[in-house]
């Protein structure tokens, strides 16, 4: 087994959940998720030589995953729509809303998903990383902006989403 192959396998094994977590937000169904997951693996393989050790492996993995999910390195911008799952407890923690019956929750999540998809691409990336419990420092490094800027953006996004929930009486 070559050194690259060994390193690749180790990285994927250690970061499987991170990759899957990001792919989850950018895929509408399991097939799409599987395709994207595979595409991330391909790009990790291609980018392995570029790892300079100036960031943690987790940050590096998030960068490759987000960049692949957005697809703007190619000639198309796809999968900019993100998908919120019903069982997203992190979203509940983030926006601090009360639990409600399934039917109402569905409506609320749909409204949230629509609102999130109206945010800018940068804000959408931030939301997905916050929902993945990525630290502000890492988010800053993944996106390429400063940590204070990340904090300001998160604060603004949370307020916008909370305001929307308030208007919907949740």
């Amino acid at each position: 087994m070559s050194e690259k192959e060994e390193q690749f396998k180790k990285i994927i094994k250690e970061n499987e959940q991170r990759i899957s977590g990001i792919c989850r937000y950018y895929s509408s169904n399991e097939d799409d998720h599987k395709d994207m997951y595979q595409e991330v693996l391909i790009n990790i393989w291609k980018s392995l030589e570029n790892f300079r050790g100036d960031a943690q492996w987790s940050t590096w993995i998030y960068r490759v995953s987000v960049n692949t999910a957005l697809g703007f390195a190619k000639k198309e911008i796809r999968r900019q729509k993100i998908f919120i799952k019903q069982d997203d407890e992190r979203l509940k923690d983030l926006l601090d809303y009360d639990d409600c019956p399934t039917k109402e929750k569905e409506i609320m999540l749909q409204a949230l998903e629509n609102k999130i998809n109206m945010l800018s691409v940068v804000d959408k990336i931030i939301i997905t990383l916050v929902l993945e419990s990525v630290s502000h420092k890492e988010i800053a490094s993944v996106i390429g902006i400063t940590e204070p800027n990340v904090r300001v953006k998160i604060h603004r996004i949370k307020n916008e989403l909370k305001e929307m929930l308030k208007n919907l009486n949740f």
């Binding site: 070559s2 994927i12 291609k46 960068r63 960049n67 000639k75 902006i145």
Partner: protein, 185 residues
């Protein structure tokens, strides 16, 4: 979702073999392309530079052709490598900035290479055609004829390139520019 990943991990060896074979194919393709351009250059050097039947003007013209083709080959190779080796591990902003530069209509280096190649071809053609000057075709007529030919060719190339860029790339490039502005907000 978990199941999908398990399947992917089980198939990782297959994926790694595919990736390794793609790497090998890419290296092989780049190698073949380099050999192809090298052979082409040799042929041009033999036909246009070392051919004993040619005049000095034609030899200089041949050198201009060889230089122009070498420049174009170098430029296309660089472009191909750049597209192939997109660094996905850069930050989102870096990758987006690079993509915005890559998909501009006018790229500094591309413009310089294209203009230089056209000038070299223009000079080369003129020098090669000098020997055909006669009572019917004066040197001035040949000179203007060559200029008209290359100007029209460059204009057609420019128009086709621009229409293609406007249709295929501009919408994508514009959305990249909009997204880059969002980083500053």
């Amino acid at each position: 979702m978990k199941n999908n990943n398990e399947i992917d991990l089980q198939n990782m060896d297959t994926l790694i073999h595919k990736l390794q074979s793609k790497d090998r194919e890419f290296k092989k393709a780049v190698g073949i392309l380099q050999i192809f351009f090298f052979v082409l250059m040799l042929i041009y050097v033999v036909v246009y530079v070392f051919n004993p039947d040619l005049s000095l003007n034609q030899r200089i013209g041949g050198i201009c052709y060889v230089l122009a083709f070498s420049l174009l080959a170098f430029h296309f190779r660089k472009k191909h490598t750049k597209y192939k080796n997109v660094n996905y591990s850069a930050s989102v902003k870096e990758l987006m900035t690079e993509a915005e530069k890559r998909y501009r209509f006018w790229k500094g280096n591309q413009l310089i290479s294209s203009v230089l190649a056209i000038i070299l071809l223009d000079v080369g053609t003129y020098l090669i055609l000098i020997k055909y000057s006669s009572d019917k075709w004066s040197l001035l007529q040949i000179f203007f004829g060559v200029q008209v030919f290359y100007l029209i060719s460059a204009a057609i190339g420019f128009i086709i390139g621009f229409i293609n860029w406007k249709k295929e790339i501009r919408p994508f490039w514009k959305s990249l520019k909009t997204m880059l502005k969002e980083f500053e907000e």
